[in-house]
Amino acid sequence: MKNVSTVIPCYAADTSGVCSALYELGGLTVVHDASGCNSTYSTHDEPRWYDKRSMIYISALTEMDAVMGNDEKLILDTVAAAADLRPEFITLCGSPMPMMTGFDYDAAAAEIEERSGIKCLPMHTNGTRSYIEGASEAFLAAVKAFAKEGPKVENGVAVLGATPLDFGLSGSIGSIRTWLGERGFETVSCLAVDSSFKDLERAALAKVSLVVSQSGLAAAKYLEKEFGIPYVCGVPYGKKYAERVERYLRWAMEDNETDWVDERSGRDFDTVVIGETVSAFSLCSALYWDLGIDAAVICPLPYEEGRLGRDLAMSAEEDIKAFLEECRPARVIADPLYRYVVPKDTRLTELPHFAFSGRCFGQRIPDLINKDIKEFFE
């Protein structure tokens, strides 16, 4: 029964990751599913659903279409919708039912592209992996398809991996843009909050990519390989740590060097942060630089091999619970719904994560970008 969660929820699925990543980029996103993934996405995982329009559609796959392998219906419907809506591009992503019938996304996307004349990106989601994998695949495919070569913008930064699934609508992404601007950087592309298709086209014009979640890492690696753009992984939380991130951005621009801004003490930790890797690493570093707190991370989501150090990768509820019981940290910083696996005598500092608890605590997600974090954590 490993990986069965009995008291905590699971993270948003890969399908939601694709939809969230591409929500504002002007594409038509078709989820091949009966409808379940659509309602999960719109009601739980997408805070922009009622306020901002986007071309996210469901294919309304029926049992008979699935059993009979009636791919033509999806292809015709998608081509017809694209003719009406004239999207910048089309994305075809999947869910558990087509996964079980072995639906071939690559072949269907190629047919849709040929018939519609509009670029179609196949996503290999199946509704069983995390939003990180979906968003990561979507950002990578979109950047591969649309980022244009051009003269680099002086002090230009591309912010990669920004979705409400990690930052909610707390204003953090806007604060990152403001913080960059105040330090003489220019946000040439942000993928993808308060963004448009132009942000995709401009992604390769940056001098450096700022990766703010694991979802943006694959696209950053691609931009580095194809366009020679180095990347820095870190979210500028707190004051002193934000200065470290700024310094790394400048070093990256000057020396063309890629790095993670993960600077913590080697001392024993008394605090555990549970969450998305880039964000959690950044928060640990901010706790150290700004408040002198030593913290380690539990990564329940995909992470980059070789980055963990003393941090731990564990996604099974029973493993996390057993670790916290044994380790007994003074404090855990995590989404409020983790309280059920935190020992009673351990203090829980609630840091809502939209991809974990959805709208439950969406209003309480703090904006910690370039802020004094003392009050929040002490």
């Binding site: 392998g69 019938t101 072995g102 071939d104 047919e111």
Partner: protein, 253 residues
């Protein structure tokens, strides 16, 4: 890289032909992977001296998690041929076709081709193209060419016709194309004429003519292919001819 999927009616000799073709390629100095795509998981047994490899689905069932390395789900056999079997769900339960897709995704994640760097990959597929799972070996990135094994028996030709039509249905997609048929003789009256007539009507080549031979059964009883047991015999020579033909075609591409 030569990437072949072998289809044909159940019991027609697909695994025998696949294993012997694999052994022929290996003897000619090629690095070969043979992937059995049948829940019976007996495609590679005669490459492995009669001792089967642990099928991928059995590994998942036993360990309740995906294998971390290729070594856990493969074994090297005659001529260094890397043998993999997809296996399948518990008979009567689950979905065998889905098992094939799961296995292929896993092999991709484990970077099988990048690590082993094969010259030849052979997919030995269960019977007809009955669903999406059994079409997986002919999707883009897997096999480029399909070989259909048939005899002169009516039902074998009927199945060959179905397989040929199924593959043609995917013409709009970048799937594998039928390269031709392997005539695996069963001592049927006027066998060659019957198969040639069908091949002509279907627009297919007969790329190999394998004689009915006791040698095949003799060496299979010993856990070997004919190529391993007696590379000089006529049956072996036919497989060598087919392997050389396919190598020439690949080199000419």
């Amino acid at each position: 890289m030569i990437k072949l999927a072998i289809y044909g009616k159940g019991g027609i000799g697909k695994s025998t032909c696949t294993a012997n073709l694999a052994a022929a390629f290996a003897t000619l100095g090629k690095r070969v992977i043979q992937i059995g795509c049948d829940p019976k998981a007996d495609s590679t047994i005669n490459i492995l001296g009669g001792t089967p490899v642990m099928p991928v689905m059995d590994h998942m069932r036993e360990h309740d998690e995906e294998p971390k390395t290729i070594e856990e789900i493969s074994r090297s056999g005659f001529g260094g041929i890397l043998c993999i079997e997809t296996g399948g769900p518990t008979p009567g339960l689950g979905c065998a076709g889905r098992g094939i897709i799961t296995t292929f995704s896993l092999l991709e994640e484990l970077e099988l081709f990048e690590k082993f760097k094969p010259d030849v990959v052979l997919y030995d597929v269960l019977g007809d193209v009955v669903c999406g799972g059994f079409a997986a070996p002919i999707r883009e990135g897997y096999a480029d060419k399909v070989l259909i094994v048939t005899s002169g028996e009516k039902m074998a030709l009927y199945a060959a016709n179905n397989i040929s039509k199924a593959v043609k249905n995917f013409e709009d997609r970048s799937y594998a194309k039928v390269r031709g048929m392997i005539l695996n003789r069963r001592s049927v009256e006027n066998e060659e004429e019957k198969v040639r007539a069908f091949a002509e009507s279907a627009g297919l080549d007969i790329v190999a003519d394998i004689p009915r031979s006791a040698d095949i059964i003799k060496y299979e009883d010993m856990g070997k292919t004919v190529i391993e047991g007696d590379p000089q015999c006529e049956t072996s020579q036919r497989f060598f001819e087919l392997a050389r033909l396919l190598i020439r075609e690949e080199e000419g591409r």
